[in-house]
Every structure is written in structure tokens, then in C-alpha cells.
Symmetry: C2
Subunit: 365 residues, 2 copies
């Protein structure tokens, strides 16, 4: 099974190639992109240990001059210090404007490598080889790159499109199950906001909670349809003028929950799952969405082994306050993405504070 999705942007277009065994074809595929000889592969030690050798052998065989650097794993290393290390490696290996940085890793490696490639010599080539489900269906597509500021996530960044996204589903075999589920949360999101058929396909599967229980055909559908959904949305709105906002479905309350629990209790996907349940309930309360549809959503979230209730001990008032400090807040108004049917959503800043509180109270455990 092989899918290729085109991301068509006014200035630059690229392909997302999805197929088992793609990792070993990295060099070949990059050959056809007309890049310079030098490549810097950026990864972390865990991922590099599993997949570094295959990737590098493939690049060398295709004639590239390859250097590599690994950075410590984890969100807490998505910092300016790590960025500096990538710059130093770029300098040491004398990368030129025609050279390429390859991100071999999850969203953390992808975001940092993307930002380094966006800003080294004011922009060099960049190829994404995502190794988490979340990075495959979300982080690697759309050109958002960045690092964290000590006081906030992703405050520093740039838009920089990759020249290619290469997805090899095989690498998911080593991904911890909790990370897998975090990715599934974003896939469910695409089902709700964009692709009703994707939603139904997941509904029809008996299991959704780990890779081993997944039919290979369904996995390929999940990857292809999710990438297509993200590609559709970003090509219609490259720089976040409007439509792209629907990708934040589940993220308004999700971000508040993540940050109030200091990124320690729930991971991003779990927070998004909770946020989708909340947004769904809000939409139902405002009579924009069927109760039945929201129940189907919540059942799917549960089948994926994701939470549907707030973590214990969270103060509702604090969540509501946190909403208005989110960086996406425009002139003090909190923006919600609310589903109108399975497969469609709208953006609104007209949700009464009372409704938010009432829904969150119902979700307290």
C-alpha cells in the first residue's frame, strides 16, 4: 500500500509519501528533489538507535554527504539551547544554502529542525521523516516550526515548508502505546472537523487503542486521510488567516488543561481528547450539534483508550481563566471550534463563560 498526497501552496508545493519501507528509500526520494549534496540528519538518541542507520545508509547510497546530530529527547529540550546545537552542527559541517536538514523524529525534533532550517542562512531545505503518529498526521505537515520560550510553548517560530514528508508506518512499531494514542486523538479530530468517512472507518474497527490491534488497511487509511485533511486545510490557509483555526478543535480547553497540570499529568493527545469532549458538549448545549453525534465522538475517544473526564483536582475557575491567556486569543475573546456535524466545524468567539463552566463541571471526576 502506498499513498502520495500533494500539498499545494502558492509558493512551494511538496508531497507526503506514505508507505511501508519508505525509510530505506529516503535517499532515493531525496535525489529527485534536486537538493545540494550536504545533508544534516537531526534526531534523538532513542529514535536514532532504532532508525538512524537505515536512514543514513540510504542517504549515503544515493550519494549524499551525511552528517548527524542527536539532541536529548523530550519537550523540555525543545529549547533555544538545542537549536544552538543544530546551528553549531550546521556550521561545523559547512551547510550551504542548497543543503538539507532532515528531521528524523517526533514533533519535537521536527519543530526544532524545521526552525533551524528556516533560520540557518535565512532558510535552507528541510525534509520531514516523522516517527510518531502525531508527527505523521499533524506536526510534520503545514510548515509550522518553532521552539519554546521559558515562559510559553512555541512562542518563537517561523513558517517554513518541508520539501518532502516521508512516512514509513513501520516505525510506529516501537512507539510507546501512550504516544500512539496521543496521535489517534488528532486523527479523531480530523474525523470530526473534516472527514466523516474517516470517522466511520474508525467507528467500524473493533479496536483503536494500540497499533497491534489495528488492521493494516485501516492504519494506511488513517494516515492517508489525516494527512489529506491537514494538507487540505493548510493549503487553503497557509498562514493561519482563517480556516486553519478549525485544526484547533479540542485544543482551546486542551491547552488549558495541559498547562495547568504543568504538562505532567496528561499528554497533548489526552488533553485534546478532553478538549474535544468539552467542545462537543458546548456545541450540544448551544444546540449546534446533535447529542447523538457527541456521544458517538466520546465513544470513539474511549475506544482509543483516551480520557473523557478532567484530571482530578483541577479548578474549573482556573481553567476558564487560563483560556484567555492563550496566545490565540484575539483582543481578549476566547475562540472555540465547535462541530456542527460529524465532518464539519465552525469557529466562534461567542461562547458564554457560564456555558463553559457548566460543561467543565459535568466533566469533573
Amino acid at each position: 500500500m502506498e499513498s502520495v498526497i500533494g500539498v499545494n501552496l502558492p509558493q512551494e508545493s511538496y508531497e507526503i509519501a506514505i508507505a511501508s519501507g519508505n525509510l530505506a528509500k529516503l535517499g532515493d526520494r531525496m535525489m529527485s528533489l534536486n537538493l545540494g549534496k550536504k545533508v544534516l540528519v537531526v534526531s534523538n538518541p532513542v529514535i536514532f538507535q532504532y532508525y538512524g542507520e537505515v536512514a543514513i545508509a540510504s542517504l549515503k547510497e544515493a550519494g549524499f554527504e551525511v552528517a548527524q546530530i542527536t539532541l536529548p529527547a523530550g519537550e523540555s529540550y525543545k529549547t533555544h539551547d538545542s537549536l544552538q546545537k543544530i546551528y553549531d552542527a550546521a556550521l561545523e559541517n559547512r551547510l550551504e544554502r542548497s543543503s538539507t536538514m532532515v528531521a528524523l523524529g517526533g514533533g519535537v525534533i521536527g519543530d526544532m529542525t524545521g526552525f533551524a532550517s528556516a533560520t540557518w542562512l535565512r532558510g535552507i531545505n528541510f525534509v520531514q521523516v516523522p516517527t510518531t503518529l502525531l508527527a505523521m498526521v499533524d506536526a510534520s505537515i503545514g510548515g509550522k516550526t518553532g521552539v519554546n520560550h521559558p515562559q510559553g510553548k512555541n512562542l518563537i517560530g517561523a513558517f517554513h515548508q518541508p520539501r518532502e514528508v516521508l512516512i514509513d508506518p513501520e516505525v510506529l512499531k516501537t512507539l510507546p502505546v501512550r504516544e500512539f494514542r496521543a496521535g489517534i486523538a488528532e486523527v479523531i479530530k480530523y474525523g470530526i472537523i473534516w472527514d466523516a468517512e474517516l470517522f466511520s472507518q474508525m467507528e467500524r474497527s473493533q479496536y483503536l487503542d494500540c497499533l497491534d490491534n489495528l488492521d493494516l488497511g485501516l492504519l494506511q487509511e488513517i494516515l492517508t486521510r489525516s494527512c489529506q485533511a491537514k494538507a487540505d486545510v493548510v493549503s487553503k490557509d497557509e498562514k493561519e488567516a482563517g480556516l486553519r483555526a478549525i485544526l484547533n478543535y479540542g485544543h482551546t480547553i486542551g491547552h488549558a488543561v495541559e498547562s495547568l497540570t504543568e504538562y505532567r499529568v496528561v499528554n497533548h493527545g489526552e488533553a485534546v481528547a478532553i478538549g474535544m469532549v468539552a467542545a462537543g458538549e458546548i456545541a450540544v448545549t448551544l444546540q449546534m450539534w446533535d447529542k447523538l453525534a457527541s456521544e458517538r465522538q466520546n465513544a470513539l475517544i474511549q475506544k482509543a483508550g483516551l480520557p473523557t473526564a478532567l484530571p482530578p483536582g483541577l479548578d474549573i475557575e482556573a481553567i476558564v481563566d487560563a483560556l484567555s491567556t492563550d496566545k490565540k486569543v484575539k483582543a481578549g475573546k476566547v475562540r472555540f471550534v465547535l462541530p456542527t456535524q460529524i465532518g464539519a466545524a465552525i469557529v466562534t468567539d461567542q461562547v458564554p463563560r457560564d456555558v463553559i463552566k457548566q460543561v467543565l463541571q459535568q466533566m469533573s471526576s
Copy 2:
């Protein structure tokens, strides 16, 4: 006298407004750009002392919420540390995506503020108020932004276009004469590579070595024609695919001279002057340019109080070696911009090493 030049780029267009008294109109002009309420003015203590008050009063009067930050003056502060201070001020003042950073200063402030605005929240609005001649005619136009890496100038950066460039020639009155001449070097460059009429107008002026000796009409012509030249070139080649390379006239050898003397002996404009003399001689030697034209160029450089000989003690061999480590070097070939007539130039990587050495030897003092 007032000129407005349009810079027309595929994605974003903006105006360069040149007129005495513009500084006091900053707020008014920005009002018409449809920007958010919050503005962060970035400057250095010297410049802020002269012009901060007028700029800020004008912004406040137009209804903007204004914050300010000053960074230490000088190229040695064009660093990640200064950038961090801008980010901190952005955070403290809660700049949003619709907010604006205003660079009130020379190229150093402009480049850093531009990069900060390019990367804060993945890009916010940016307005240039250049206060040196060099920043007016060169650094503020074209969207190149960046900071230095400990091991090299401008290695880290991004393309980010300003929403407006506002030039008030009055501020040049306080500019040190050596800085003024550095700007004139770039103006002479435009005369050679693009605008023969600009060249002739300067030739006709009795003096060119300091502001006080300059006719006000000529100053306005110098500013307008130089900005127009840069705007023409960058709009035809926003991301440096080809044509923009001609802006590096005088810069190939200029950069080598600057860096070999550790940026202490000659300033940028002086280095470019030396580089233009060298490139002119190379073009004459290769029979691409008239001896007479090159003599006219060198006379103009001298009239501007700029050097035409290498600084004493520089090793010719070292200069030639330095050329090939320049970041603009593609696959080891050194690229030269060579004039073919006054007002036109070409780019070539076919200059024999012998010719470079011979010309530099003639220029040794």
C-alpha cells in the same frame, strides 16, 4: 519634498515613504495600515535619546498602546542575547499576532527587530524607521533580517517584509560622518549596478563627503533613487534566486577585508568601497568594462571620503583564501559581481585566481 516608493512582492507589498518630518507622522501613517493596538518600539540608547520621544508621542497620539526597549549599540550586540531581550519585552507587554514591532535605528536594530518580529508567534507586524543612511537605502528594504552567530555574521535569520519603511532625512543630522560615508558607499553601488542617472547626479555635486556639504535636493534624490533601485531588484527576486546577487557588488572582496581586519580597521561601507575598486579593476582586466568608467567610479569613491586602497598589512593570499569561505560560495566557486557599464552589472564565478591576486597587489598600499 516627498517621495513614496512601492515595493511590490507577490505576497505582500509595502511603501517606502521619504520626507522631512516623517518621524512625527509615524503614528498617523501606521494608523492607515490596519495594525493591532499594541506597538513595541526597539531602539538603542543613543538613537532613542534623540528620536524616541517624538516617535512615541506620535504613536500614542494616534491611539497606539506603546512599549519600548533599548538594546546596547553596536554590531557586537547583534546577538541572540539581544534577541532574547526583545522576546522578553514582547512577552511582558503581551504582544499578539496583530501587534507591531517598530525598529527605530540603524541596520543593527533593524535586522534584530525584524528577526524578532519574524519569529515571535511565528511572525507579527514590523515597521522600519531607519536612522542611518545605510539602513535607509539598504538594510531596511528587502526583508532580510537576522542576528550574528559567534562564528559568523548574519548566519541566523529569516525573510520577513516590513509593513512600511518610514524615512525622515532630518535624523541624518546627528549621524557621525563616518557612518554617513558608509551609506554613500552603498549609494555609489546602486549608481554602478543599476542607475546611471544617480551616478551622474553625484558626479555633478561638488562635495559628497558629509551631509552638511550636500544639497537637500540631491539628498532626496539619493534616498529616492537608492530605495527605488533596491526595491526594483528585490521585487524581481524576493528570495535571492538570482538577480538580487548584483546587490553584492563590492561585497565579495569587501567582506573578506572586513573579516580579516576583524571589523575594526574599516567599517562596512569602507570595505565595500575597496571591494568596488577591486571588482571594477577585475572587470577592466577581463575587458568587460572601460578603464575610463572605472576611473570615474574611483573618483566618486574618493570624493565621498572613502578609501580606494587596501588597509596596510593585509596579506593578499589570505584575502583570496577568505573569499572561498564566504557563505555565498556555491560548491566552492567564488561569485563576483562585475560592472559592464555604469548602470549595469553581471554575476560570474569565472574570475581566475591570478586576476584577483594581481588586482589586489596593485591596490596594496
